[in-house]
Amino acid sequence: MNFLIVFRKEMQEQWRTYRFLIVAAVFAAFGLVSPVLAKFTPEMLKAIPGVPPELLAAIPAPTVADAVSQYVKNMSQFGILLALLVTMGVVVQEKERGTAAFFLTRPVSRETFLLVKFAALTVTFIASLALAAAGCWYYTLVLFAPLAWGPFLALNGLMLVVFLVYMALALLASTIARTNGVAVGLAFVALILVSGIGALPTIGEYFPGRLFSWGVTLMLGGNGTAWQAFGISLGLIAGALLAACIIFRRQEI
């Protein structure tokens, strides 16, 4: 019911409240800076007085793999953090401000209200990640060598899936919570659980974080897949959104 009308409003809101620009700017900055850091970190180390010559000699010359690795490292940290920060307030703040009550007596179903927010944030993250990827690709080309398009696209697609997992969990937290503080707490509990369990040796193979290493493997031409982690990630997204819709439908505003 009225999905596209509300979606248009959400996108306008992201633009006018600078949320889109902030996410895009942060992503673009990390995309650009990753190959630069990979290239010049050894140079910077050399410039530091007192570094033992043996250590400097042991540092290998930077390669494309370092640029990719740096890119994934930055995105896996700041991308996830941004996904949580941008999403965890979107529902609870509307409940606290009263705009949710004001609009839910209009022809806007509760499912539309939630899913439109997720859809709008997804578009923002896709656009921002595209900027980051373009920046990284260009600087890697200038400083090292061109990146293979196919694997690089796959890597970014996999990173997007991970971000969507955290966005869906943060949206669920925002739906459950009555106050912004509780939403923040729940979102970070979700982060600790998913990333903490994902760091364990065996079970971690099935968690979203595994998609980052799968993407790097693809970039470096290695073998190995992580389809289970991919499937579980999609399941987490669908499950979190479904739970948010069910809870929100029963919730008193």
Binding site: V6, R16, F102, P107, S109, I253
Partner: protein, 311 residues
């Protein structure tokens, strides 16, 4: 058929009975004053009738729609102004009303015309391109009224529409509500008796989640009328001593000071009319005002709810 039909509505929050078997009927086209002290259950009732909350038991229909079974249909029939209407501060009033018009499926030309009409109605044409974020409470309230009317609702729910406004803002909003008479059914919750007296045709008084009485305003005033007289004079001390002597009279029920005057409620109007002025003359009291007073809604409210019910 009633525009609003509520039967045995109950809502409990743990051990608290916010609504305790509420019955309510509102006839089409009336401006209904839903009156009660703070915490009586007015907002809970409105939240249920607008689909924001679910009752524990009981039934509620608005414009022929069961509020529990068909929230989508309900949303197209009603308008709602919460106590503190909230908006997206980055929007302008024009954008906001246009957005609502889209949600209700109005065509582009209908949206333009209705937006213009409503902005004129709430006197906001001059600020129609300013961001809502900088608006005062009164401006937000007026915009809220416009937003509630965008789709010509059959039933309009207003939750304390004027309680937080200054006198000028209150007058504006109440005038707006008064002008809706005959256009749609209005259910207005408030704890301000003067607002109800000013615009409402029918009054329902709620306390502790139950409807105490529901009636036409004039019929209510007559039904609960207690005959009373008010006297006022320059010599407050002398007047005070004199009215104390009246307490002994068998036809006097009570004497209460009120805004520099004294209100004398009586058991026997004829005796009062015959004796009161004569007694004043005999005691040498000079009166600036002597008046048989019409009971106010406040008198009725206090009789029914009790002064302890007033917050």
């Amino acid at each position: 058929m009633s525009s609003v039909h509520v039967e045995a509505l109950k809502k409990t929050y743990g051990a608290v009975h916010a609504l305790d078997g509420l019955d309510l009927q509102v006839a089409p086209g009336t401006i209904f004053g839903f009156l009660g002290p703070n915490g009586a259950g007015k907002t809970t009732t409105l939240r249920i009738l607008t689909g924001l909350a679910r009752p524990t038991s009981g039934t509620a229909q608005v414009a022929g729609v069961d509020v529990l079974k068909d929230p989508g249909k309900l949303s197209r029939r009603i308008g709602h102004l919460p106590e503190e209407p909230a908006f997206y501060g980055w929007m302008t009033p024009r954008e906001f009303l246009d957005y609502l018009g889209r949600l209700y499926g109005l065509s582009a030309s209908a949206r333009r015309a209705r937006t213009r009409e409503l902005l004129a109605l709430v006197r906001m044409e001059e600020v129609s391109k300013r961001r809502i974020a900088g608006f005062s409470r009164g401006m937000r309230q007026r915009l809220g009224v416009a937003a509630a009317l965008i789709h010509h609702p059959e039933v309009l729910f207003l939750d304390e529409p004027a309680s937080a406004l200054d006198p000028a803002g209150r007058k504006e909003v109440l005038d707006l509500i008064g002008n809706l008479r005959g256009q749609c059914t209005v259910l207005m919750s408030t704890h301000i008796l003067a607002d109800v007296e000013r615009v409402c045709d029918v009054v329902g008084i709620i306390a502790k989640g139950r409807m105490l009485v529901q009636s036409q305003r004039e019929a209510l005033l007559e039904r609960y009328a207690i005959p009373a007289f008010e006297v006022e004079g320059d010599d407050q001390a002398g007047l005070s001593l004199w009215v104390e002597t009246l307490r002994r009279l068998p036809w006097v029920m009570s004497i209460t000071p009120r805004n520099g005057a004294f209100r004398i409620t009586v058991r026997d109007v004829q005796s009062a009319k015959r004796d009161l002025l004569a007694l004043a003359v005999n005691s040498g009291i000079s009166l600036n005002r002597y008046e048989e007073v019409r009971p106010s809604l406040e008198d009725v409210f206090l009789q029914l709810v009790g002064s302890e019910g007033l917050a």
